[in-house]
């Protein structure tokens, strides 16, 4: 997608179209993230604010600049404002931008759209939590609350393979894809990442039609990827059960790959609300 070298005019047009599209995506991502955030806060924390953790009585040796004068003025004792322990961690996100993701059955959103939405929403949550967010294959790390639009813009321009030489060790990675490519490819990618000490998460985004195969009759199935031969099935309803078995086997393979690398594997269907998937992801990523 990085077509910066081609006609600037086309780039400008693309950027314009992107600019028109980005804010809604960002807004949607923020909204999804806010929903999840509210849910998390309600259970875990007592007050507002990212940094504040607790007040504790002053003990000799504490730095004077850590005294909270306002709190101390309320009583005779001195209080120290203790903030939460923060260790900014790099979380690398990736979504599959392949042809198979640009598809949906019926009125549902495309798998790629859903994957981007989940990615941005997760990024939004992470940025609020003070984490550093990277996109796999992109050297730049994003931090701070205002960077979500530029993250989205960067996401729109980059569609790299799921590999990154510059990823710090012990970072975390979240990969969104339908993972319909042969298992070996997935294993290689996950293996390369886990070799660098990266732990992570595989989220399989599937269309419901891919799960249930709801077609009947005589159908010629055509691939999305160019060059792949179409397949003529005389009676689709006859192979539905076999297909379901095969899909289950594929998922089991993915789960095994993830487990072997100490990763987690979850699935998401485009007809399910994105909030549920995001909450599951957030809780899996949260420390403790």
């Amino acid at each position: 997608m990085a077509e910066t070298g081609t006609a600037p005019r086309a780039t400008a047009l693309r950027a314009e179209a992107l600019g028109a599209r980005l804010p809604p995506l960002v807004v949607a991502a923020e909204r999804v993230a806010a929903t999840v955030m509210q849910g998390v806060h309600g259970r875990r924390r007592a007050g507002q604010g990212d940094a504040f953790w607790q007040f504790r009585p002053y003990t000799p040796g504490d730095a004077l600049n850590r005294l909270d004068w306002r709190q101390s003025a309320k009583s005779d004792r001195l209080f120290v404002r203790e903030t939460e322990w923060e260790a900014a961690q790099s979380v690398a996100l990736w979504r599959d931008a392949g042809e198979t993701m640009r598809w949906s059955s019926g009125n549902l959103p495309q798998k790629g759209e859903r994957a981007e939405l989940l990615l941005l929403a997760l990024a939004s949550l992470l940025l609020r939590g003070g984490e550093r967010v990277r996109l796999l294959g992109l050297r730049r790390a994003f931090a701070g609350r205002g960077v979500l639009p530029s993250l989205a813009e960067a996401l729109e321009r980059h569609a790299p393979p799921p590999a990154d030489e510059s990823l710090p060790r012990h970072a975390r990675a979240v990969l969104f894809s339908d993972f319909l490519q042969p298992l070996e490819e997935t294993r290689a990618a996950v293996g390369a990442l886990s070799a660098r000490g990266v732990t992570g998460h595989l989220v399989q985004v599937l269309d419901p039609a891919e799960e249930t195969l709801p077609y009947t009759g005589r159908i010629r199935f055509e691939a999305l990827t160019a060059g792949e031969a179409p397949l003529l099935l005389p009676r689709v309803e006859g192979v539905r059960a076999l297909y379901a078995e095969k899909l289950a086997a594929h998922r089991a393979g993915l789960s095994t790959i993830a487990g072997a690398a100490g990763w987690r594997f979850t699935t998401h269907r485009t007809d399910a609300p994105p909030e549920a998937a995001l909450l599951a992801l957030w809780q899996a990523l949260s420390p403790g």
């Binding site: 198979t100 042969p182 891919e210 005589r218 159908i219 691939a223 003529l232 099935l233 095969k246 594929h250």
Partner: protein, 906 residues
Amino acid sequence: MLQLGPIGFVLPWLLLALPLLPAIWWLLRVTPPAPRRQVFPALRLLRDLPVPEQTPSRTPWWLLLLRLTAAALIVLGLARPVWGPGAGTAGDGPLLLVIDDGWASAPDWPARAAAAQAALDTASREGRRAALLTTAPTDTPESTRPSALMPAEELRARVTALRPKSWAPDRAAALAGFQSWRQNNSGALSTLWLADGLEHQAEGDGSTPLAEALAAAGPLTLARTENRATRLLLPPRAEPDRLLVSLRQTPAPAGGQATVLARTGDGRALASTTIDLPAGATAGEAALELPLEIRNQVVRLDLDEDESAGAAVLLDERFRRRPVGLVGPAQSGTDTPLIGALYYLERSLSPTAELRSGSIEQLLARQLSVLVLADRPVSEGREREALDRWVREGGTLVRFAGPRLAEHPDSLLPVRLRAGERQLGGSLSWEQPQHMAPFPDSSPFAGLVPPAEVTVSTQVLAEPDPRLSERSWARLADGTPLVTAETRGAGRIVLFHVTANAEWSNLPLSGLFPDMLRRLVALSSGVAGAEGSAPLAPVENMDGFGRLGPAPGGVAAIAANAFAETKPGPRHPPGWYGVPGEGGERRALNLSASLPAPRPMAAPPAGTGFQAIGGVPAERDLGPWLLGAALLLLALDLLLSLGQRGLIGRPARLALLALALLAPLGSARAQQAGDLPLVTRIGYVVTDDPSADDVVRQGLAGLSEYVNRRTAAALGEPAAVKPGQDDLSVLPLLYWAILPEAQAPDPAAVAALNDYMRNGGIILFDTRDEGSGEGFSPGAREALQRVTRSLAIPPLAPVTAEHVLTRSFYLLQDLPGRFAGGQVWVSREEDRANDSVSPVIIGGHDWAGAWAVDARGSNPFAAIPGGTRQRTLAYRFGVNLVMYALTGNYKGDQVHVPAILERLGN
């Protein structure tokens, strides 16, 4: 034009496309149905699946058959097939269409018109010109001349406008017209003669000359109706207690029946009788028995099946209410109650006759059928001569004895009288008052039974005479004549040897007296007397179908004294003639009175082609039907192909198929579902007589419709039930018309009916024999007793003005049906268990007859005494009855309304 059996093809060369069908078949067989395309990302997973079954890649044979049939239908449809194309008259000259449009063509006129149109269709297809010759004359000159030759399409409008005339064709005139036409059009002709099959000349053979002339001009085809008798209904003969109706017909190979309907002025049937006609019969006769009061309302007789001027007879004054003049002694007080000389006469005769009074001279100035002189001697001179002349012209003079007549006998008596009267049982007599002897068989009173309580104490005596016995119509027990009569000229003189009041005998007090007078009046030969030459203008005239309508132009008035000799024709169509306006005298001109008995026409000359009218369906273009069927098949094919490709789901497919196939069956299914008690219905008990059941069903259907229109109740079609077999519990009301031959119900039915009544059902028994309808259904009351003997009928009481039946919807004074004036009975005691609703309502007003509505939406049965008001009231009673059955005594609370209003006012 190519003809294959009954189907002809207008564009047969298109059929050459049929051999192309195998090519279509081959094309269809090699092409498998195209698969549906579907983009699918998870194709890789699908790739290596084993395929469990393989559908044939060829089109299934039934789909192939379907498509081939559709293709064949399209080819056939485009070839414009015609079903039963007109046979096409032989020869190739212009077509001459000869149509008998007299009265005898009317009964099957639509078939004749269709046959004529078919011939014209054929002629127009063949590009022939056509001319029309109608054989019944009209009042325009040269009406029986063929029309000019014109394209067949243009003649079609004239044939469409043609209507049968209400008189007979004149074939001699038609022959003359044809011959004069031939002088200008001498080319070859082919002729189609739509003949009515009758010989219309009284004597001789009038049809053969015409047939020969037509055959000489070219091939002749004679179209006739096969196996159908042409019937002519003759004016009836009036007998004292009945009308004798007779008909003449051409011999029919199969026997049958003819139903004669007696109708009132508004066209409703009063009564009917059936004439049996064995095979080959040419005449039949039957009696129409009607009470005289009812008979007077009969205005026309119709043959039920035939619609023609020959099958309808109008009855005028001669068959109806007779004018009777009453003259008493020359003194006042003749109509004093109970003792006046004319008091009993007036009461006996007024229901059946039109009574007139005045002097003898005044009375004889108008037409009169009977003149009654009660103890009134006739003076010598002008009066006696006028009376004598009137009697000889056909008048009936009825005289009653009395003191004055006994003193001054005159010559206008059937027997010579002894001077003075004979006193029996008086203070100076040893003899007892005499009883009456039974009437001799030769007497017109035969059949009447003299009551035992009738006694005669005084009478005038006849001089012994050898012919006294044959002139005696009634005698006393000792043999002395009581009523004598003598025929003079066309009329007769009748003498009662007693007074017309109760002075000499109690005969005028008995029920026998009105019966005897009625017979005398009925015996009189209708109106007789003065008839001038005043013109009788046409009031209403009959068309060929026997329907009355305003007189068309060109109809002339008829002089009164020439009326009897007038033959119906274009100048004088049958119908009513007389003084226009209300109450004016009207006379009926009947077609059948002047026609000879119908006989078949002579066989046409040899070489004549024959063709049947009717039975052969009219020519019909099949093209649109075939193309429509092909379209349907193609739509079905589309549906099936879509289904095969999985483009529509199985349920949708099934639904569409069901929709397409089952739509015509919907009504039949609905009919079956009608058995369910989903709607409120009125039930009626099925009797042994289907026609009576039909009347009841029509009546209840009419009532249900009326109730639905006027009230919030929604009633369905009436239900026919057999008690004991069908479930009565869903019916709020059961109508039971009691026929005279009805038998007691069996025990199961009795149990069901008692159960029904106990649980709140209402049964309406209708004997159809009450009030003004008395005598319509003799024996029905006995039948009612038989039927109800084992039913749990509660004690009965007449319906009072306060009963809920008279106020449950409308406020009614009485409860008329087709008849009025009878008593209606309901349960006397109010049973609180069923909301005080009477389980039975018993009456005899033939309500169903009044409610009945026939297929044309009119009321087929006349109300008696009659009038729109009575029918409205009958319907209102029906509404009240339904409301009573549905709501019970709800409206009974009305009795409290005054009290409630008063309380509200305070």
